[in-house]
Symmetry: D2
Subunit: 361 residues, 4 copies
């Protein structure tokens, strides 16, 4: 089913960009858990548009409400339903677009799939706005993982040609990681950050947009979580990651570089450090055979440039089968990468919590 994810921590997302409400039902939280509202609000704020000049000037308030599954902020065993009311949407902007699909948006295949009945307003259920309920579910997952000392971090690895430095996550200051969570534009290197922001402003100036790469790191995952074959840790994470709009690729550890490497370079030798088993390198990215090894789990995600741009584009009329020009009005992110980073971090939390619970059985 397309709107549910997970077996043990199961989320069901509903809503469209301009429906009356969007929200998520979460099934699988034990009774007695104290909901961390602060963390949910913080993460919603992190993904919120309209905060700075690197994202859209369109503002979403995203105040959420939990309408079931708890009493006084403590879960009672029934599923949590969290909702966000949509308001102040400018729906008139969109209806005229039904016949002229926006390039690199879902408009055309959605029109065919839904026989023209799809909700075109704001992208309907294909909208990046759907990452708001994902963020609520992800925040609760983050908090539950945190109780097991498992931590998930994201940073912007590159925007266009500007790149952040490489990091060895098995040997990093905890404070540097924490700083990522309080940074609208999380990078390790300050110069890299400036270069990336310049890339975005340049694109914006030209009514254009730009893509980038997000890197996610998972620390303190116990050894042996995940399953062989179809529920491998990579399968589950990748499946979750590709549910976030705009993702074009994912690579774990050495990733596509592995294709250029010899086995003798790529194999991560084991050694003993303070009575613990470590690997000297981490080309495997913390996962072997679909199972966590206890080394940091590291993966990178390619995010495409925002498809909505201010420049005039070529499209067609679906009805008339004629070539047409298209100008997209409205306010858009010159780069979705900073906000996508939060959504990707959140869906990572959802997907690995599911496997962690499975592993505890």
């Amino acid at each position: 089913m397309s709107y549910s994810f997970g077996k043990n921590y199961k989320i069901t997302v509903f809503g469209q960009s301009h429906s009356e409400e969007i929200g998520v039902v979460i099934d699988g939280i034990n009774a007695g858990y104290k909901i961390n509202f602060d963390l949910i609000n913080k993460n919603l704020e992190r993904r919120r548009p309209g905060k700075n000049k690197y994202s859209t000037s369109r503002s979403e308030l995203d105040s959420f409400k939990i309408v079931s599954g708890e009493i006084g902020g403590i879960t009672c065993g029934a599923p949590i339903c969290a909702i966000i009311k949509n308001k102040d949407q400018k729906s008139r902007d969109y209806e005229s677009l039904r016949d002229k699909p926006r390039p690199s948006h879902a408009d055309y295949p959605a029109f065919v799939k839904y026989n023209g009945y799809n909700d075109i307003r704001g992208g309907g259920q294909f909208s990046g706005r759907m990452t708001a309920p994902m963020t609520i579910a992800g925040s609760i997952a983050e908090d539950l993982l945190s109780q097991k000392n498992i931590k998930v971090y994201s940073r912007i690895k590159s925007i266009g040609s500007a790149k952040d430095i490489d990091i060895d996550y098995s040997n990093i200051d905890f404070e540097k990681l924490c700083a990522l969570k309080n940074d609208d534009f999380p990078t390790f290197d300050i110069d890299a950050k400036k270069n990336m922001q310049e890339e975005i402003l340049n694109a914006k100036k030209n009514l254009d947009s730009i893509g980038g790469v997000v890197e996610i790191a998972i620390l303190n995952m116990p050894t042996g979580i995940g399953e062989p074959l179809f529920n491998s840790m990579e399968s589950n994470i990748a499946s979750a990651i590709f549910s976030v709009p705009g993702v074009k690729g994912i690579e774990f550890g050495s990733g596509f570089n592995a294709a250029n490497m010899l086995g003798s370079e790529h194999n991560d030798s084991y050694y003993i450090k303070e009575d613990k088993i470590k690997t000297k390198t981490n080309n495997h990215g913390g996962i072997l055979g679909g199972l966590s090894t206890s080394m940091p789990i590291v993966f990178r995600v390619a995010v495409k440039p925002t498809p909505s741009i201010g420049l005039t584009q070529d499209t067609v009329s679906l009805k008339d089968k004629t070539n047409e020009k298209l100008e997209i009005k409205g306010r858009h992110d010159p780069s979705i990468v900073p906000r996508a980073a939060v959504a990707l971090e959140m869906m990572t939390c959802v997907s690995i919590l599911d496997l962690v619970i499975e592993g505890e059985k």
Copy 2:
């Protein structure tokens, strides 16, 4: 569940590298389908080791038998169970390795997950041998897709630094595609093929191994197949692809290049060609919003170098927590890329057939 995949075309794989049998149960084939034994045999032969000097000299016969779900080669509506008997395994090679995990194999996390009870022989359920039953299920899926005119092709895109040419799949000779299916080492360019093979032989000569990239193309997929969000076409394919041992990354269309692109470069403009809707470029790789667009679906998969190499490696004793040396005996593929290509193609067939059936409801 880790050993089942799919909702409508559902496969359940069983077995370990050296168990008495390995096999697959396939649920979801309509009654009256004539099983294409030739295609199954052909694909098993394509993935078979021991055929040439670019793969291991270890030979597997892989003769399969269907023990349920059909009468006289015609499906009867009950699930198909196909089995392959394992024989002539040299299990003694392995037992000594239980305490010394092989670098970049699943040995260490599997030992922890299964409390030391895992089947270490030949890699157990983590073995590349599990791709044999996947190939049976994939071949039937390929045949069922073919009846809907949907075609899936794979080729080796690169081995080490040797790369095959780029191809526009929306404008390619059908014969070139067909040739891929009859080629042990499928590439479009003959010189690229030679360079790649040389890379493999060099690695082999040095008791080493080498990685590469496989490219998969899906042609004639109807528009609008796939689902938004969690069952996006990318989510389903990626989930299937990462179930094949050795995969480090996947990218669709422009993939990681998207991170370096402007929206104006990356957006694929629509135009009308012979009354049909096409895009001028295919950065989107045939999928938008998780749905197929009717353009060729194209993705690439990074495959790591075979972790089993003849060189002496550093490892540890799990029991004694001491540093140790390891020499892996036995015959191994200097590159698993050519054989992985078949498995990846097969799991692609399994995952997209599931979505095609879903889309027909």
Copy 3:
């Protein structure tokens, strides 16, 4: 997962008796379906308490709102989320009961399962109130089935010792069936109805409650719907039926009478009538081998007497492990059978629609 049901028409229910909202997410409705609000309202009204003296004097308004998945009453392919706001709940009545479980309610095992964190107010997620969102999902299913000419009817078969007449559903006036849908107390025989109502009023007078049997009939189901073994039509229906609070048993066709019968009596002979295949009797209840036969599908459901009664009862203190007396305050149904009939009819619709869609693949 406990709060989701179905594979193709999948519902996820959320809420507790006194949570801020209760509701349901429905995934699997094609785009372009015009939501039948009248039918939903009619069915909610049928299950509503407080309508007459045979049910509780507690009134629920149950006005629902659809907050996603549609535009202007037409589905758009995204999941439907329908919510009902809870109001005017007298939550103070309940908190004192946490330590003293009400006999034949879920209080005691829920206390253990949820470590005392369960929502005791109004029965929490175990409340009959959860059948309101089931009714919304069931009404849409009923409407979708109706478009395929498949009809589902329920009637009260017995209350205490008062019984309605037996009916041959393969030979019945359509009007008599339709009348059931407009009857607060659906029976075929008017005298039986009076006797049943008298049983209820007698129980009520004595601060007691009484049980009964509901009969469901499904007409015009195509032949061959359902699956062998684990997704047999009986398995799916029974699974759905036992999700309605208060159900103690289900029997199909001859049901428990089959235990007293010879094969020669029980076997339903085939014969041809107007070129169609019929059976002379319907002991099989319209299902053989888990598949529909085209004869009316008929089953009966035993519903227990309302556990909340006005009489003083024996219970215990969970904390002190002492024997205690209990008096349950508040307004309760003297018999839940009339209202359960609607919920059972609704969950029947949900479960068979799922199989009908599966059968169409």
Copy 4:
């Protein structure tokens, strides 16, 4: 999916009555479990036909083999696949029946569902023979439950009009329960047993068959296992029970009697006994709100008379749409109740183990 059952202890059954093999894949057993081959063999022997004059004279050997998932009888974490080879089947008996459906068998709806391609031999996948792999999966579940001290017993409650005595399972000699497992014809009362056997022999003498009731009791289930609503303990058990061929009804605790009872009679009062919480009566059958209460879980299952009888019956020609006579050749059980009891006990084990594992998360 129709051939898989369970979420945590997941079984996938394959095969038809006369396919080359039948079997089951079991996913969800932890590594390190020592398979209890004796128990599997004992239960297979209990369900085996041909043992005495109360069952068919047709003999099945049912020697099974485990072909994956273990080394030396110890599970290794990979799924168990257990197979039974079919042999000595008299397939010629059946082919002539394709056009003339046997009354109260699945022949007719299966013909329609599978477009005539279904395996008619021995009933195909609708055969009682499919309960052999269920028995293997159930035996392992029984053993795993037994390690948690949870016990499942079955007995024949009635055959035709002959009935066994009622039993209070919360107050019964352990030896009487154990005796059931070693009895081909398990009853508590010896006279009742004789009367039942006489009913069967009478039916057999007349080339007829007869139905009955099986009662299942589950002892020592911890409190709070099961889930509210859709995965209630009753929903899961009922779903499993109706997958066994020939079942017409199921009732828990008071069952259909509840329909005749007042709340004051039906409610089970709590009291303290030796510091434990008990109920004075067990009308609730050990389950409230879908959760186990710690009282014995008791339910009864109605089993229809064997549809295959020696008497001439009325049927039709599917092709010619004409009325026809039918004589069924071959050896058949005069009552399937004794053998069904084993299958029902086994599927009970499968379904509750799944919930027990869920409850441990």
